[in-house]
Structures are given as C-alpha cells and as structure tokens.
Symmetry: C2
Subunit: 337 residues, 2 copies
DNA sequence: TTGTAGGCGTTATCAC
DNA sequence: GTGATAACGCCTACAA
C-alpha cells in the first residue's frame, strides 16, 4: 500500500507538504497541491488509519454498550446515535454485553486501550464502583440506564413515574391482582420501575403479589411462559405489568390462544411502543420513549466532553414518556361508562 | 497513560521483555515475568491498540455492511456473526448503508484505510465493478446478497426458489391475481426473487399484474400503504407476495382493520420468519432463513481468508429455506377439502 | 511557502 | 534469557 512517503516522492515534494494537503492546511501553492493530488490519485493513496490514531491520540470513535442489538429499542437507539455521531465526524461501534458483567468490563477496556475516545452505556450490569475508574481513560455518558450517583452525565426517562402511571391505569381499569413482570431486577432502572409499580399499589391500597412477580422475562417466548405460569399458578391475576412490548406480546398471544379474554380477563401493559405493540390484536397499551431525542442528546453531551474535556458537568437530562392506551387494557364495561 | 516503557522502567527491565510477557512469548524467567506483571498491575498498564495495529498491520476487526440494523433480519445476522467472530478473536463493526451508494463506498474505504482487516457485505447497492477494486486491500465476503460473478465467496439462500415456492403456494390456495411487493428492485437478490415469482406465474399460466407491483415497500408503514393502494386501485388482487414480514404485517393489519378477510379475500406471504409473523392475527405464512448457519459460515470463510491469504477460493455456499405455511394464506374452503 | 527530524507505543530482528 | 534498535505511517515543531 502506498504511504505518504511514496506520494511525496512521486510528486517530488516532502512528506510535510503532502500531509498539509491531506489535512487541508494552508501554505501550499495551488500548483504543488495539484501535483500532490494527482500523485495521490495515481497511487490510490489513502492515509493509514492506525498511524493517524497513534499520532493524533484519538480515534474519532465512540463505543455504545447495550444488552443486545436484536432488542428493537436498542436498535433504534443505535440508529439515531449513529446519525448524530456521524454528523460530528464520529464513528460508532456497537458492543453487546448480553447482560454479562464480564463483557461489560471487557468493553470498558476499549477506553483504556484507546480503541475509542468515549463510551455510552445504555445498560449497567456491574456496580458503578467498578466502572468509575475507567473515567480516568475517557468520558462516559449514561443513556437510558441511570443511577443516583452523579459522577457522569445521564440522559434518561423517569422510569419510576412511567411504571407508576401504567400501574395506576391498570388499576383504574378495574384490575385488583397485578403481576409484576420484568427482565432482571438488578439494575437501577429496574428498581425504579418496580418502585413506581409498588407506589401505585400502595396508593390504591392493593397488595403486592410477590409470588406472582417474575423477573426473568425478556423475550416474546418468556412472555408466553409468563402467561402459562399465571394461568396455572396464579389464576386470580387480572392485570400484568411488563417491562417490554415483546414480553407483553407473548403474554397476550398465549392468552388469546388459551381463550382468556384480553383485557377483560387479563389486562396487559407493555413498554417501549415498538411497532409490534400496535400490530398485536388486541393492540398493546404501552409507554412511548423519546428515543431519538435521548440518543441525540447523549451524543451531543459526549462529543462536547470530547471537544472540551474540562466541561465535565455531570448533569442529568430527563425526558418524559407518554402512556399510550390501547385495547390490551381498555375493558369493555368501562368504555360504555 | 502508562506505556510499555514505564512498565519496563518500573520492573527494571527492557521494553522487549515486557513485550514478551504481554504476548505470552517464551524465554522469560518466571521471576521476571512476575515482576513485570506486578509493574503492569501497579501502573494499570494496558497495551495501546493503535500502536499495536500500526506495528502489526492488522486490526483484528471485521466490518459488516448492512442496510439498517433496525431490520430484525440483519440484527439477527449481526448477533450470530459477532458470536462467531469473537470466538476467533475478531471484533465486528456494524456499518449501516441505509441503501446509499455513497455510504457503501465510504464504508468500503475502511478496508483501504486499514481500519478493518476484512469486510462482509450483506447488501450491495453499487455495481460490482465499483466494489471489486477494494479486493486489493483485503478480503470481502458476500452474505445474503449475491450475484452471478464469482470473484468473492458468497453465502446465501436461493431466493429465486424461495419466491417461486411462496408464489406457487399462493396459487395453490386459489389466488388468481397476485400483487408483487418488494423493497427496491435494483439488487440481484431482488431480481432473483422477482424471477422466481414470475416463473411461478408462467408455470401456472397466470398473468403478471405489472400495475399492481410495488417496489418501494420496506417497513410496516409501507405495507399499510400497499394495502390502501390495492383496495383502491386494484381491488381484484387476491394474493400478495411481499419481501419482508414487516411489509406483510402492515398489509394484513390494514386489511383486517378494513374488514377485508385474510386469507379469504386477500392471502399474504411474508419473508424472514420474524417473531412478528407468528404473533400476527392471522399468523403470517413466511420463508424461514437459516440465519445462524449463514452467519457462521460467512465469518468462517472470511477468517480463513485472513489467516491464509492465498486460499481465495471464491466458492458459493447455498443454504436452503423453509416455507412456513400459516393462517395468512390457508383459505378455509381448502382446509375442508 | 517548504523541508527536516523526532516521536506517538509497539514488536521483530539481531546481537549479546 | 535479555536488551538495543529499527521500523510501522503519520503529524508537527522548528528551521530554512
């Protein structure tokens, strides 16, 4: 492969001058510039990325950590982040943690090994104490996931409030025995949602059915199993809060198949407002997240930190959700009242 | 950040010896090895990725080009490829072309700039003539998308046959007026599907309704519009072939909403066997692709080329599909015959 | 306006 | 077994 040296030789000039042309710097005669451009063209010269990175001590790359890209919520997040990042001249690399603490740590190493300039974490498996040291190697911004501690910027919704509203809605529809279904209860975000759920119950003086709580549901398949459990073990449950549209869809699918009426016998709420939630029959009541806005803000905050490393204001950007009421919770008797 | 030099100094040894330890090479006393490990630990040393890449002339990174990660088919492909690649010590970077020729070319540049060692293309917007020169800079493997030319390895299904079978199935169900719906007809893969569709028509002596063909449908929303068009402009259409489950879902959703019976008034087939196709009411007849197998093979072929650069056998790996017949095409009268 | 030279952090080669 | 040294390709003081 041709190097800057080759171009210089062919153009009969020095590496410096060639470098100036590459980087659009002044102090090069138009004539020589032309000669150099021709030489570059002739040799098919392209600057070597590794050399540049080493020399410049920057990669113009951002790593985004997420559980799995097959989850449409995160896919959408990436979609928007990439758009915004490329606009600033940054590249994004997608890092799937699969909810593994080890993988999360491995990916954080990218910051230390200088493979990326900064990191966005959209989920958090490890204790923050384990992550914090990496801040020495570069900026980290939290998006979606959050926590109480305030050592980095955070961009997120108020999940506690969202869960609270969903739950109140279920109760308003006449549900008395609610099952709480989520995917892993170890994250702060999950705790927040649960807190919102519990607060709604408390406010309406309803008991928390601990036995009917399931914290291992992520996929559609899990949702189907959730329904089976409910039908067999907790037949008195008449409403389900779920942490994702996929899980809600699984519950609804299986319920309908079993002849259990949704929402009359069992009301179900999802989360994220995926396309799926609209297409289901009955359509799913769900929480809409301002994905694009959060993604944009996240990248903006991170890039600013990259550009002005001193401006590390670890502030919080909170975005608001929207409860979308659809057929999976709209009980008939109430429609006519 | 600490460098190898710092570690060497602290351990009272040379860079060379430290390097040996880093790379697990022989000829280092256990005692000195220990000293070095301690020094690395104390300094929090991590080898600089850019320097390594420059020195080794390899990045251990593969770029995967795809239209958009929000398409679950490609998300699944990435999921599997990543697993396989990390198994071989390779990292994957996801490159969304959004069907743009320019972006596709930009991403191919990653090969020239040595940001990646090899490339997987799962779609192809540009003429192959435009892509071919990049082979000088490193190996390229096609996965999913394919073509007649044989200058690179290709891993794919027989889309012509898949479309043919879908179409024959529609006809067998009694459909006489078929609408052909796809997303962009400029790729070879799209042409193959259309050829399969046409062949089925021909074989069964049915006319091709050119007016009822729509080649701009990618998303659910497009599918909804497709149905509106059919209802308003081509009410005689009684069967639809679509290029994706998303589009099929949109068609079915809108049809059901409009009181048009699926499949009796309008039969619909999708493509890809996404979760969505199972959850729809009625469930969608679709084509299952062996995503994981194709992904694994693709990475395997590419990595082998990276390891043994001479072994550039540009052979073709063809995988077989499966037509999954579900309610969106199973007409009632036929169930009872 | 142009060129010279040193170094970014690593590893391979060769000598000891 | 260990260490000095020369690249890898690029950029940037500094000198001319």
């Amino acid at each position: 492969m041709a190097t800057i040296e080759d171009v210089a030789k062919l153009a009969g000039l020095s590496r410096t001058t060639v470098s100036r042309v590459i980087n659009d710097q002044p102090y090069v005669t138009d004539e020589k510039k032309q000669r150099i451009l021709e030489a570059m063209d002739e040799l098919g010269y392209v600057p070597n990325s590794s050399a540049r990175r080493l020399r410049n001590q920057r990669t113009d790359t951002i790593a985004v950590l997420l559980p799995r890209i097959t989850n449409p919520f995160f896919a959408n997040l990436i979609e928007s982040m990439e758009k915004k990042a490329s606009h600033w001249g940054y590249q994004i690399i997608v890092c799937q943690t699969h909810d593994s603490k080890k993988k999360e740590m491995d990916y954080l190493q990218l910051l230390k090994t200088k493979q990326v300039d900064g990191i966005v974490m959209t989920s958090l498996c490890n204790d923050w104490k384990a992550v914090e040291p990496y801040l020495d190697s570069g900026p980290i911004v939290l998006c979606n996931e959050y926590m109480e501690e305030m050592s980095v910027p955070m961009v997120h919704m108020d999940h506690r409030r969202a869960a609270y509203e969903s739950t109140i809605h279920l109760i308003d529809q006449g549900c008395q025995n609610l099952s709480y279904v989520c995917g892993g209860s170890d994250t702060y975000l999950a705790q927040e949602r649960k807190a919102g759920f519990l607060r709604a119950l408390e406010e309406r003086s309803l008991p928390f059915l601990e036995e009917a709580m399931m914290d291992w549901a992520i996929h559609v398949q899990d949702g189907r199993e959730v329904f089976q459990r409910i039908q067999q073990e907790f037949p008195y449950v008449d409403g389900v809060f779920t942490g994702s549209d996929e899980v809600a869809a699984g519950v609804v699918y299986e319920a309908v198949k079993s002849g259990v009426g949704v929402p009359d016998d069992l009301a179900v709420v999802g989360f994220d407002n995926q396309m799926l939630s609209l297409l289901m029959v009955p359509a799913l009541t769900t929480i809409e997240q301002p994905v694009e806005k959060m993604a944009d803000r996240t990248i903006e905050v991170l890039v600013k930190q990259l550009m002005y490393p001193t401006s590390v204001k670890a502030r919080r950007y909170i975005y608001s959700h929207k409860l979308l009421v659809r057929d999976s919770t709209l009980k008939e008797q109430l429609i006519h009242t």
